[in-house]
């Protein structure tokens, strides 16, 4: 049953915490998704489990077909090996787009083909940007397969975390600067500017 897959792609689940992906029942690449348990978010995964179970229970059947193709990585979607250049990615994307575009898909499978097309487009967007691609490759190697939109949401959260880290860091750097400036013009400092400053301050004190 699908309930056991903890893929973060189940629609409706807003998950901040990275959890595992398990091997899907239709096992394409068994070594691709090893079980990884992140150390710092044990309580988080409980929350996610609850959410996922709710979501999975309600929408399992509807998303069964969709989930199948979602297990493919971006590289599989485009039908290319992992080590390809930008030009080849572009070519592969164009091929896939021509094949799966709603306008040219066979009428009985429009739904499925449109979904596929959207996913192909996501794949291309990620892989064509070297920065995003690097992040994706890193996640893939760690066994996490996230859909683009989930990554974007996650990226924003990550960005926010990063920014607040930066803020902490430069705040401490500023206080350090203030501390250092106390000793800057002490007698021991013989740099040119320190001498000039002492002279300037000495003069203004005389005045």
């Amino acid at each position: 049953m699908r309930c056991s897959s903890y893929g973060l792609i189940i629609p409706g689940s807003e998950s901040r915490f990275l959890t595992t992906t398990t091997t899907p029942t239709t096992n394409k690449k068994p070594d691709r998704f090893p079980r990884i348990y992140p150390t710092s978010v044990s309580f988080g995964s409980l929350k996610v489990k609850a959410k996922l179970n709710d979501a999975a229970g309600g929408t399992a059947t509807a998303t069964a077909v969709v989930d199948e193709s979602k297990e493919l990585s971006f590289y599989d979607l485009l039908g290319i090996p992992e080590s390809v250049s930008l030009v080849e990615i572009k070519q592969a994307y164009k091929q896939m787009a021509r094949k799966y575009h709603p306008d040219v898909s066979p009428p009985d499978r429009v739904e499925e083909y449109t979904q596929r097309f959207i996913r192909v487009q996501e794949a291309y967007e990620t892989l064509s940007d070297p920065g995003l691609r690097a992040l994706y490759d890193r996640d893939l190697s760690m066994g996490l397969h996230l859909a683009f939109s989930a990554r974007r949401r996650q990226q924003n959260d990550v960005d926010f975390q990063v920014r607040s880290e930066w803020r902490n860091r430069w705040q401490s750097q500023l206080s350090e600067l203030k501390r250092r400036s106390m000793n800057k013009d002490a007698g021991g400092n013989i740099s040119w500017a320190a001498r000039m400053r002492r002279k300037r301050d000495g003069l203004s004190q005389e005045l």
């Binding site: 940007d129 070297p130 930066w166 803020r167 430069w170 750097q173 500023l174 600067l177 400036s181 000039m196």
Partner: protein
Amino acid sequence: MALSAFSFPTYVSKATNSGPHKSSPVTSHFFGAALFSHFSHKLDNHQIQLKKRPNGVCASLSERGEYHSQRPPTPLLDTINYPIHMKNLSIRELKQLADELRADVIFNVSKTGGHLGSSLGVIELTVALHYVFNAPKDRILWDVGHQTYPHKILTGRRDKMHTMRQTDGLSGFTKRSESEYDCFGTGHSSTSISAGLGMAVGRDLKGRKNNVVAVIGDGAMTAGQAYEAMNNAGYLDSDMIVILNDNKQVSLPTATLDGPIPPVGALSSALSRLQSNRPLRELREVAKGVTKQIGGPMHELAAKVDEYARGMISGSGSTLFEELGLYYIGPVDGHNVDDLVAILDEVKNTKTTGPVLIHVVTEKGRGYPYAEKAADKYHGVAKFDPATGKQFKSSARTQSYTTYFAEALIAEAEVDKDVVAIHAAMGGGTGLNLFLRRFPTRCFDVGIAEQHAVTFAAGLACEGLKPFCAIYSSFMQRAYDQVVHDVDLQKLPVRFAMDRAGLVGADGPTHCGSFDVTFMACLPNMVVMAPSDEAELFHMVATAAAIDDRPSCFRYPRGNGIGVELPPGNKGIPLEVGKGRILIEGERVALLGYGTAVQSCLAASALLESHGLRLTVADARFCKPLDHALIRSLAKSHEVLITVEEGSIGGFGSHVVQFLALDGLLDGTVKWRPLVLPDRYIDHGSPADQLAQAGLTPSHIAATVFNILGQTREALEIMSFKS
């Protein structure tokens, strides 16, 4: 809401810009409902839905993503004429000001063309700098200067923004003679820290107390001069602030033809590591915990541990700056006005800091979705439509000399696998992006490091390769010692392809390539040539590839070809070195042109045909070695010999007259006159205007001929006739 708290005089625009809402003065008292309804009435025809917010007009167009061809409403920016008018604003108003400034920059650049992406990346930084510091007393320097559009808007030049990069208009870079807020003229990169240090030391010597801030980008950091300056700054320890504007775009334009380009050089990865220091932060937290536990009496030891931990977690990049003697602060979100103002304020208020480096992370093209998505981040654009982002590129019959050069080089590299190309962060500007796409392993981008590029090419030549160094004529000035000492002295066969030779139009004197003939032709071993049209360019690339025993160079201008037939397969035929050609046979007067000035000579001779004069027009092709036979024959069979070139004194004309003198040809009856660029810098403007100012248009040449022949009346006629 603080919007109603303005108490300073209002700015009424005297601009000639159209836009219905500009016709009525905007006064600060009307903020609130009255103005809101006034605006919404005026702007109905622009189909804007103004949000009914209780605090008045919402002007943050970039949030809604609407861009339109009329000037966007900027109520807060309209009240700012100079930075002093910003001092009473709250942080919230500063953010609104940043949004309005962004919309204004997009609108202005869409009308005039120019550098968009870089200006958009520093909007918040500009606002924060002018808010915290007191220009012009406090010196704010901008490296390269192409990101100063928001700075110019905030410092009294908003009404002239529509003249940006045009004749008699604003310069596209900072210029001391333009405004007292532009402390230092820039255009070439990596000079701001050096100049800033000079200003800081000058201030110290004079006993003054102002601040000095130098803003430099991560691209400009790849140049050696930045390190020379930082090294010296660390040693002198003078108070100054260096702001490193890091947007991960190191080469220009910031893309190859196939997509965004990863930054060049090892420094960029160091800077990236600085930005993403997560694992090390955890170590710091641990260290903090340990020091807390140690407690009171051990606080000295704890401070030491803290500093040690800090040194560890700072990463190797900041250690580089620390080792050079600059105190490193960052990374900082460059689009957050709060953070920027807080940091700058703190640093400003610290009594003695020594040199401080603030690492600010920005995004090029930020705030304009089309720029953010574009591979080159809209670094340099022509006029465009703000709503769609589409540039209005004029369609020309021919391509640019740059493209022809790239195609010629590709054709040479197809047959000879030793041909390699080197450029200094100008893949798009030199056309070598095309070469890169065809031969990915034979094209080298060294970052903004022309000196290194030349000596690197010399090293390649030592190993038997055929390096083509494509560097703009004016940027070659940086690498002159390397050309003389490393290439020419040792007679290494490095080929220099100097683009943007002569007058360059909108970029102005900072990018003008006036001096390359002079400084290249005086070198003993150098072969110096210049094509008069694009077919000649193909042949000269082939000639340069064939010259394998000495260095050679050729120059070509900015602009498009004239439309001659290209050699088949883009493969030129090597010319005979030191041989020119005669294009038109005539009598009495000979025009000897060098480079694309030959086209002006041909046009002049067409003008004079109608007056019954048939001139001889010759294309010298080579300045070194000169075609002695051609010059002798011209001097002996004509009354007048005029040499024409788009270069300074000391170039082609000087070499010709040197030869004439030594050969005894000046002892006879021939009159020689030179036509060169005048002895002053020609300001930016359209190429036609610049040429007219320089006195090198076909009319000028024709008038010179008349004057020498004594027909001064006809000379005046030609000059006053405006075709």
